[in-house]
């Protein structure tokens, strides 16, 4: 059961990483990077490391996304479509 969850989440993580490289729009790439750290937190939890999972959820999924968005607002005005 645990191995099924790890395999599915790992496949989704690899596809999200691929997507984060190949998207043209920067805000979409930021959202894809958020998905990567969101799933990495669940996988850390499956590997029996709850403190690492908590840190990853707080810093990787929350703080990094917000800092990237602030930086994106500083450097340019993002456009909406792909």
């Amino acid at each position: 059961m645990i191995s099924i969850i790890i395999i599915v989440l790992g496949i989704i993580m690899i596809m999200a990483a691929f997507l984060a490289i190949h998207l043209k729009n920067l805000l979409s790439a930021i959202i894809s990077a958020g998905v990567i750290s969101l799933l990495a937190s669940v996988i850390y939890l499956l590997l029996a490391a709850p403190d690492v999972a908590m840190t990853e959820a707080a810093i990787g999924s929350g703080l990094t996304t917000i800092i990237f968005i602030f930086t994106l607002k500083k450097i340019k005005k993002g456009d909406l479509d792909d």
């Binding site: 059961m1 645990i2 099924i4 969850i5 599915v8 989704i12 596809m15 999200a16 997507l19 729009n25 805000l27 979409s28 930021i30 959202i31 894809s32 958020g34 998905v35 969101l38 799933l39 937190s41 669940v42 939890l45 499956l46 029996a48 709850p50 999972a53 908590m54 959820a57 707080a58 999924s61 929350g62 996304t65 917000i66 968005i69 602030f70 994106l72 607002k73 005005k77 993002g78 909406l80 479509d81 792909d82």
Partner: protein, 86 residues
């Protein structure tokens, strides 16, 4: 018997997460991708609680609490950026 039903429920929730991720891949606008991220967050909170049940450790539930709060802040930041405000 009960364990089997719990496992089937977790796999069904995992399928829902995959469907939501397909929308994140296709997504024509950025708001679509943000909605898909929101759905994936809620489903993964459910998965974390299932993992806490599966491995019999109550301390895993703290991760779910932190997760819910922080992901809410991230979604609101994305929405404020879309509104051109922050």
């Amino acid at each position: 018997m009960a364990d089997l039903i719990y496992n089937i429920a977790a796999i069904i929730a995992l399928i829902g997460m995959m469907l939501s991720f397909v929308r994140l891949i296709i997504g024509h606008t950025i708001a679509d991708r943000a909605v898909a991220l929101d759905g994936m967050t809620i489903i993964s909170i459910s998965l974390i609680v299932f993992i806490a049940y599966y491995s019999n450790r109550i301390i895993y539930l703290d991760v779910a609490i932190v997760y819910g709060l922080i992901s809410f802040v991230g979604i609101v930041a994305i929405a404020r950026y879309l509104e051109r405000g922050i």
